[in-house]
């Protein structure tokens, strides 16, 4: 049995709506391209893209996971040209910021008109790379979080709320 959520679906919907309103305002008259980092950000991006009130495009990219000998590389690049586009990079969690910084560098090489970062969860106490986060849904303490796209051993992505590690059975 799962315990009380850290953030329930109403809280998440509220934050998604607020961020979507901010994006709709900030990018009024433009057509931003939202790029989600697979896999955990997919749920957040799906909700966010449907909540904005301006036209936008959606794409995904992914990076190699730790353990690959060659180090981090883009496993899947954004599939559309980025030159001149207003890109919003959507991540699930910013922790050390090292993954995000790598992705930001790769995106900037493709000459977007602008690049902003949006994250569902911000866990700043382990931050190493000082990345500017323009939109964040929640700042979380040092707890392991599952649900709403985030998994534990491949499970719990489908849960509609965010749960802290330890509130569900081992």
């Amino acid at each position: 049995m799962i315990g009380d959520p850290l953030f329930d679906s109403e809280s998440i919907a509220g934050r998604v709506a607020a961020i979507a309103a901010a994006i709709s305002h900030d990018y009024s008259g433009k057509r931003p391209l939202m790029i989600g980092l697979l896999t955990a950000a997919a749920t957040f991006l799906a909700d966010l893209s449907r909540a904005v009130t301006i036209p936008c495009d959606v794409d995904f990219m992914s990076v190699t996971s730790y353990g690959d000998r060659e180090g981090i590389v883009l496993e899947q690049e954004a599939s559309v040209p980025l030159e001149g586009r207003h890109v919003i990079l959507v991540d699930d969690t910013v922790d050390t910021g090292l993954t995000l910084q790598y992705v930001v560098k790769r995106l900037l090489e493709r000459a977007p008109a602008s690049l902003a970062v949006c994250t569902l969860l911000d866990r700043p106490h382990r931050r190493i790379a000082d990345i500017e986060i323009r939109y964040r849904a929640f700042e979380v303490p040092d707890v392991f979080v599952v649900g709403y796209g985030l998994d534990y051993l491949g499970r719990y992505r489908e849960l509609p709320a965010l749960y802290a590690h330890g509130t569900w059975p081992a």
Binding site: L98, D142, Y152
Partner: protein, 109 residues
Amino acid sequence: MAVSRVLFAHASEAELARLFDFYRVDWQYEPRSFPIAWNEQGRPIEFFTPDFYLPEYDIYIEVTVAKPARNSRKNRKLRLLRSHHPRVNVKLFTRRDVERVFYRLKRAS
């Protein structure tokens, strides 16, 4: 610096070094000791040597593998370091921090 050329004090440090390598982040292992206490003659009698320095970020990383209840000695040293060297950016990574960072990375795919 290559992980294989460094004799780390603990496996968690080696693991963190491999993480930096994964991100192609330059790192130095224990490159500098900071005085944190002095005797009456003004000579330093105690030093603190953070485990890593990341030049790109100008940040020192100290890894602790002790349980939180046993971190008081290290926390004291960190407090003194921050007090006497306020411009030095140092961050403490616990074993739990290291484990969680790695779990997130491994599940990212």
